[in-house]
């Protein structure tokens, strides 16, 4: 044990002196390469996590709430909405419900028209469940009792002279303008645009809202809704709330927002993960090559010195360990520098987020991803450092001394 400790002490001594007094340029360059590889290892996972986070947040805040209650199979609408709302709101942890009547409509404005989804909502309930009302860029959100007012997303409102590029657009609707809405039952209504919102979620910003009373009146509905969105006190525990809701005897279909969006998101994540795996492999191969070359050149240049060390009685394992310790140092400092760079990158992308169709994506650096990157970087670096050191150190003493 003492011999092992003494050996490690010598390895550390030799490694440190080489680092301290060796070529600082090569050392700095190697550390920088490791740092950049580390950043590359956590960049894509952080963006993927950011996409998931954004998608989830946008879904909860603007599109679905935490839980979605839908009509029973075979029914188009949920009946007895008021009673059902009260029932749902009795469940502990439910802080809001918003019934929505969803209908496909055609909107007309100054000679242009587009098809979109119109939601009939109870404004007060919608405010308690989603955050659309907080994202008004012009005008105001709907109020209970509005019958001739409509609010719409910024994409649907569009800009004058600009076509929607495949998305529904009325090409420049402003607050105060009138738009005509043709319902599927051939009823047509004219509404004054009360407000325009921008959530940066494409699905929401291409939709429009009128009050539930108005939609019910046009469609001939009474206390009915296409869907009830449910807002919970805490995000991430939707499964528990769902079970709780079902235990309260709710007969309608109950879904968590993940169940409603899972398919789309899972496909996107799968594609991202394939790209991430390729990127990770390439990064690790680069790490292996860089460390291998650095240590290989180092050991080849010191071949004679390694022979001398062995000749004066220094065990080859001590010599190998000294190179492994150098690699550990380089990797540790590189990973540390990588963490600093990644923190800078995260701060920058938080201030200037990447814009995805689902909304702005902020990088989410997960501790597990950082630990995984550090562990994989250390594993490949140690291996890449050990092999050339072992190759040279196990060489016959005289051959090494002769160079």
């Amino acid at each position: 044990m003492t011999a092992v400790f003494a050996g490690l002490k010598v390895s550390a001594f030799l490694a440190w002196k080489t680092i301290e007094r060796g070529n600082t340029g090569t050392l700095a360059l190697t550390i920088m390469i490791i740092a950049l590889i580390f950043v590359n290892l956590i960049f894509l996972p952080s963006i993927i996590s950011g996409v998931v986070e954004t998608f989830n947040t946008q879904s909860i805040d603007f599109d679905l709430g935490n839980i979605v209650v839908e009509p029973r199979e075979g029914s188009q609408y949920i009946g007895g909405v008021t009673g059902l709302q009260k029932k749902i709101e009795r469940v502990p942890g439910i802080i809001g419900t918003s019934p929505r009547i969803a209908v496909g409509v055609t909107l007309f404005y100054r000679g242009s028209n587009t098809a979109s989804t119109l939601y009939g909502i109870t404004p007060e309930d919608e405010r308690s469940t989603t955050r659309i009302a907080d994202f008004m860029t012009e005008g105001e959100f709907l109020a209970n009792g509005d019958t001739d007012a409509i609010v719409m997303g910024a994409i649907l409102a569009g800009r004058e002279g600009e076509e929607g590029g495949g998305l529904p657009s009325l090409e420049g609707v402003m607050v105060g303008d009138s738009v005509e809405v043709a319902y599927p039952n051939d009823e047509t209504r004219t509404y004054r645009v009360k407000g325009i919102f921008e959530t940066q979620s494409f699905g929401v910003d291409t939709a429009a809202f009128v009050t539930g009373d108005e939609a019910s009146e046009v469609l001939g509905l009474h206390d009915q809704a296409s869907v009830i969105l449910v807002k919970t006190e805490v995000d991430g525990r939707e499964e528990g709330y769902k079970r709780e809701l079902l235990s309260y005897g709710i007969q309608e279909e109950v879904w968590t927002f993940r169940e409603k969006t899972g398919g789309v998101l899972d496909q996107a994540i799968q594609s991202f993960n394939i790209i991430n795996t390729i990127s990770t492999l390439v990064s690790l191969i680069i790490a292996v090559v860089v460390v291998f070359i650095v240590i290989f050149i180092n050991t080849v240049n010191r071949r004679r010195q390694i022979g001398i060390l062995k000749a004066i009685g220094i065990d080859q394992q001590i010599i190998i360990n000294s190179y492994v310790l150098q690699v550990l140092f380089i990797t540790a400092v590189g990973a540390l520098a990588g963490i600093v760079l990644a923190a800078g990158m995260t701060a920058y992308l938080t201030a200037y987020p990447l814009v995805f169709p689902g909304g702005p994506v902020y990088p989410v650096v997960e501790t597990s991803a950082v630990l995984r990157s550090i562990a994989s970087l250390f594993a490949v670096s140690v291996l890449a450092g050990y092999i050339p050191a072992w190759q040279i150190a196990r060489e016959d003493i005289l051959s090494a001394i002769r160079g």
Partner: protein, 228 residues
């Protein structure tokens, strides 16, 4: 004490077999300063390498202080070199990143000596070889003679049974060579240090107790010198 008997060593260089040693027997008594001389290719370095456990003979035996060193495992040979032998190489073979003092105490570190002990020993031995004021200088800051003194100090720091020197003056001018040989002679006389040294300079003979001259891998002549 070294007892080498009937050592043979043949090197294969491509398709050619070169006989480096053809059956050399040699005994070096404790406290002797033995010079191994001969022309290039006579086998003197091969003999030193075998005596120093850096190479193995094809046949024959080597016993150092009663230990059959050829029977030792590689690990044991390494430990034997560390604890019982000291080496001085032709080109000093110092570690460039280390100071003179660090070069000297490196092997003491491996032996697990206490810090005070190895610092004290190393400083003292450097002082004894005349480098008391150069201990914190690195190789690049030392002259050839000073570097060789550091190498000698490194070889001596663990009180080896035998000091092996492979043409230690080959890269030095005659003045510096003389100072190194004077140092060897002093170590031999004052500390009774056993030294086996390879040389091809005739004037070195005056320092040796005994000169073993090799020719074509065989001992051609054994001459008593300084103490004769």
């Amino acid at each position: 004490m070294i007892v080498a008997e009937d050592l043979t060593r043949v090197y294969t260089m491509g398709r050619v077999k070169v006989r480096a040693l053809g059956g050399v027997s040699l005994t070096v008594a404790r406290g002797e300063f033995v010079g191994i001389m001969g022309a290039s290719g006579s086998g003197k370095s091969t003999l030193l390498h075998i005596l120093g456990l850096l190479d193995r003979p094809d046949s024959g035996s080597v016993t150092i202080d009663g230990t059959d060193v050829l029977a030792l495992s590689d690990h044991r040979r390494t430990l034997f070199r560390l604890n019982r032998l000291g080496y001085v190489f032709q080109d000093y073979a110092l570690i460039g990143e280390l100071t003179a003092l660090e070069n000297v105490y490196l092997t003491s570190l491996v032996r697990g000596d206490q810090k005070e002990e190895y610092l004290g020993k190393s400083t003292e031995i450097l002082r004894r070889v005349g480098l008391g004021d150069r201990i914190n200088h690195r190789q690049s800051e030392l002259s050839g003679g000073e570097q060789q003194r550091v190498a000698i100090a490194r070889a001596l720091v663990n009180n080896p049974s035998i000091l092996l020197a492979d043409e230690p003056c080959a890269n030095l001018d005659s003045q510096t060579s003389k100072s190194i040989l004077d140092l060897f002679a002093r170590l031999n006389e004052e500390l009774d240090q056993t030294i086996v040294m390879v040389s091809h300079e005739d004037w070195h003979k005056e320092y040796f107790c005994r000169v073993v001259t090799l020719r074509d891998g065989l001992i051609e002549e054994v001459t008593e010198c300084r103490r004769a």
